[in-house]
Amino acid sequence: MIGVDLFWWIMGTGLIIYVMTGGADYGGGVWDLLARGKEQARERRMIEAAIGPIWEVNHIWVIFIIVTMFSVFPKAFAAICIALHIPISLVVVGMILRGACFTFRGYGLQPGATAKRWGMIFAWASLITPIFLGMTLAATSSGEIRLVDGEVTSGYFSGWLSPFAVCTGVLTLVIFSLTAAVYLLHEVEPDMVQRFRDRAFKAQIVVLVLLAIVYGLAHRDAPIFAEQLDNSALIWPLRFFIVLAVGAVFWSLKNKHDDLARMAVVAQVAGVVLGWGLAMDRYLVIPDLTIDNAGAHQETLEAMAPVFIAGAVLLVPALFMLFRVFKSKSKEA
């Protein structure tokens, strides 16, 4: 029997993939922004070459999540779009500017100074968008968005401006930057690798500090969320898994095992997003909307499941091919 749980997991999987792929493209923009010194132009070119062929594909995961949400959980989609109109609009503006200006820089045929201006907008948009994205997600966890008879009653500023939400936004940004730095170990020229190892190492420290802060703030600003996190049956295995992954990231960065670092960072990020999902515990907007009361129609679920299965069967080899063409021999290239 096809049920709403399947789609909860599909959306979760989509989110994990988006964070691991599309997220890293934002992170690339952050490192572009932070590029300093004599080598900054070369550094930016390497980042651009790494992002160029794949960012549009990676970006589609966010559309995938949105479409799944409004098809399967339309009441939650409508409520989120009303209550979080402002931060979502800012995310959208950021996404537009990031993608458009990245392309304008690369394909502009313009003098260096003009291209540089596009690069600045791209980089700043890459920095700001993940923060609003994280704030939006945190707001759904906060418990502050309330509905009565299906109508949002908590206004347009609930949930996304709390310290918990803002810190989650910054955490999102730093996680994206961490994954980008680790992925770039495989993409930049050999003389730059150590620089990115150091950056990843520092980003990882910031991630840990922010995780601790967000965890603490959640108990104050998002109590239901925090309680569900602590009481989840899988919380201890997950904590163990994340600690292991975090340790592996540190160790492999220190000992220059770049392949292991990539695997470990993917595991760590997946673990964190999974933890968020566990704490949401079938809620789409805490405390009024769950996957059971968000307006799913059984007929829709049954029609969409085969579409997703067929789509995935075709998509996986195509994605594999894309990444193989561009990511396999990058060191020799």
Binding site: G52, A78, C81, G99, Q110, T300, A303
Partner: protein, 441 residues
Amino acid sequence: MDDLFSARAQMGLSLAFHILFGIAGMAMPLMMAIAETVWLRTGNQIYLELAKRWSKGTAILFAVGAVSGTALSFELGLLWPGFMKYAGPVIGTPFSLEGFAFFFEAIFLGIYLYGWNKISPKMHCLAGYLVAFFGLASGTIVIAVNAWMNTPAGFTTVAGTNEIATIDVWGAVFNPAFPTQAMHSGLGAYCAVAFAVLGIHCFGLLREKNNAFHLAAAKIAFGMALVATPLQMLSGDISARHVGEYQPAKLAAMEGLYKTQKGAPLALGGIPIDDEERMIGAIHIPKALSFLQTGDADAEIKGLDAFPEEDRPNTFWVHLAFQLMVACGSAMMGLVSLGAFLWWRGKRFPTQRWFLKAALLVHPLGLVAVEAGWCVTELGRQPWVIYNIMRTEDAVTPMPGLWVPCLFFTALYVFLGITVLILLNNHVFHSPSVVAVERSK
């Protein structure tokens, strides 16, 4: 500005903006793949250069299309949560199919743009055709959603209400208007882009008569226009009949037909005055509308008076947009016929200056027709967002102050639009490779 108007303006602008990039994403990949095929077959370097140059323009257009399309998927909820809450489960499947098609489109475009030296030329060319195929697929499927808004199908309602009881997802996808609308907008995309590209390269030929690069480009673009334009005229006829059958209020507004009548005339031009329920300045061809719609010159056609006043679209804009679309289409058909005749008689692509100038004059009309046609279908459905089911005013978000995002997005899209024009201009005229191509020949 009241909030409903702001929401409609923002959505309309976002769609009007995105549609141009969407159609470019459908038609440009086909042209660059054709150019690459010619290169593979003949070894003529000019066509390789052409494929590369077009692919760079496509990269810009596709990226802006991708981000503006993402914005739309959010705006559906940000501006019309009432609509999405109701319709999401019914139309979600075509949206997710479109999402998958878009995935493949982006994957193969990535391979095409960045894979020149990474895969074999044949595979590379195949990737180009796959981009074109999935571009067409995603464009077609997303039209299914718009067609569903015009002719909602695939669900039953609880007796006496509009509340959805059961859903037949595939019945919703294959709603009555889907085939005609998909055909008309798909062909419209190829026509519009072919003419736009043709005009640009005819301008190039006006400046440099023997530039082999511009000549090759103009030939391919003209070929596409030659195939698509006559088919589009045919599909326009089929579409108008379909609209008459399923959306009679829209047809009445398109024609400015206020009174239900037998042997209805066809109005050419003219300005509808809604308050007085009459047209001024129109040329009426007696019985032509009845004949075109039904094949019977005396058939009865419903006028706007058949619908309660609160259910009528804005005749002024719908009629004007329809006339504009038809006029543009006619001009394009005229140019493509003329060009085909000249080509046939002269045995070579017509490079007479007057013809090139005519092509330059006509070249933006396809894009105008696409926008006008889209206005016809959207404004002609008003006041409904889902025809006869949900009014637009009932779908809008309760969020106040919508003029703020409306103005902001307007400014953003104007800025992006101007930038894209400047960058494309750079690619067409300021690339040094044009000279290199001429020398290499």
